[in-house]
Symmetry: C2
Subunit: 320 residues, 2 copies
């Protein structure tokens, strides 16, 4: 079983409008709701890849109920197991306003509600549940932002608990929670170039990845958008690029990278094979009709076409 943690789960709501006009009234043509928050997205992709998957974190209020209801509807090919801890607060919504006049992915305006206030007792309860779930986990992903009330060093605690339990841990967050999580030595961190720059101060991805690795991550997989991935691992360094630049909606591409890394890790794949899977899956996510889904045909087609290039120390330094 693969476990994903989403402390700040969300109900993702998408509105389609002909065009967004500030300070005007809009008739929404179509409303779509999905379970949201990075860890839930990762879990859906894992389930689609055929892995037994369990989600934990917090859910509460009517939006939390709706998230859990939508999770039970994920059944192709397997369901996502619900081990969310109930909070007295209300799960946040994210509202994404998509303009029909724009191209795919163009013109989305996002409104992110703050998360529910988590009480110290709820956090303790979560730590208990997390410890129990780790006993049956082959790998765990810690994903996204922290809701109010959760200690900023939360990911440090969760990384240490996983490592003590012998469960490989992938961390995908940013800012201070990432900085604090790094120090606890996670197996993998997956920042994008901007997040890497945010915690290291370096805008040169390879240099920034090296700094992040020095701060504690065993492996750093940096997503460089349409340019693919850059990975520094205990087995070597690689650049991985899709065969062509994909036009589409990048929402969820990063979550697909995390899902592929976990999936490859659980199956015992080599680092290059995990990175190929991650790159093909991210590109297939960009190409999908619905944000956060992936196009299986594109994924299958890209798998043999992704280029992996081992970076030697000297050559690697020339990158960027």
């Amino acid at each position: 079983m693969i476990l994903t943690v989403t402390l700040n789960a969300a109900l993702d709501v998408t509105y389609r409008v002909p065009r967004l006009e500030p300070r005007a009234s809009h008739r929404v043509r179509e409303v779509a709701e999905r379970p949201g928050g990075k860890g839930l997205n990762v879990a859906r992709v894992l389930a689609a890849l055929g892995h037994e998957t369990l989600v934990t974190g917090f859910a509460g209020g009517p939006t939390g109920e709706r998230v859990r209801e939508l999770l039970t509807e994920v059944t192709e090919p397997g369901p996502v197991g619900d081990a969310l801890v109930t909070t007295g607060g209300t799960t946040r919504r994210t509202v994404s306003v998509v303009e029909e006049s724009g191209g795919p992915g163009a013109g989305a305006t996002l409104f992110n509600e703050p998360g529910p206030q988590i009480s110290p007792a709820e956090w303790e309860r979560f730590l208990d549940v997390y410890g129990e779930l780790l006993a049956g986990a082959d790998a765990v992903a810690l994903c996204g932002s922290l809701p109010p009330g959760v200690p900023v060093g939360a990911y440090g605690t969760l990384v240490r608990t996983a490592r003590t339990a012998g469960v490989p841990v992938v961390l995908d967050t940013d800012g201070e929670p990432l900085r604090r999580g790094l120090a606890a030595r996670p197996d993998v961190v997956k920042p994008n170039a901007e997040e890497l720059a945010g915690i290291t101060g370096s805008t040169e991805p390879l240099h920034a990845a090296r700094l992040a690795q020095r701060r504690g991550a065993h492996a750093v997989v940096a997503s460089l958008g349409a340019d693919g991935l850059l990975a520094l691992t205990p087995d070597g360094a690689w650049r991985v690029t899709p065969p062509r630049r994909m036009a589409g909606n990048p929402t969820g591409a990063g979550d697909s990278v995390v899902a592929a890394l976990l999936s490859g890790l659980a199956e015992g794949l080599s680092w290059p094979d995990r990175l190929v899977r991650a790159t093909a899956l991210a590109a297939a996510t960009v190409r999908a009709e619905t944000a956060g889904e992936f196009d299986r045909a594109v994924y299958e087609e890209l798998l043999p076409a992704v280029t992996v290039t081992r970076q030697r120390a000297a050559a690697a330094s020339a990158v960027g």
Copy 2:
């Protein structure tokens, strides 16, 4: 008891953001939720004026549950009674994005979800409930848009049922539902200038009001924004103006006019007294801190200061 009907109830959500930037991601600083839809707003104002009030219409899904939960929290000075009929669909949300950089009321961008699909069986069920509730009602207000599935002639049916039951009926809607409702001869319709123009083709309010009256309304009370009200009634015609133009948020001012007209009708006030109450209450709503609430001190202060001018036929024709 005063009954208000909201066929397309809503959960009104307000987001505060520093500034709305199309195609950017916004961290919402504050989220507020209120029961919404014109009839629910009217009921809250009636309850605040001390009237026993009951709401009906449709509510369903997690948002419908939330609307009902919020209604139970209205207790000052009396509660609003919940006689909403449960639908299998989900009550719509309206999302109002307010920019903190703007002045009060400035800078609100609205997103209105479509309502739930009402089945023929649900509509029949509502008609039964409505008929039963009318037996105990002193007056009834029919407010707002129609959700999908409800016949476009719905308000015609509801007006006829109320008149047969001998219950005075106020209609506040627009477009084709208003046109069809008018033909059933409601006691009062309360369009604004734009809605009047929409159904009559005349942009001159007095002329348009006369046309609306000819089409079936016993009385037409047209709201002219900061200029007050224009009323054509069986007892005469009046122009009513607040003592000064009010700066503030006009959201809910029209609902306060409906509440005041119902309240005055239930108390047996004369037409001029009802119109004074409506004008003072609308102005006090514009001045309130929270959209849709009213400022009681402003209301009390304005009541004796509102100007009512009887319009003679000839003089009336010169207006506009």
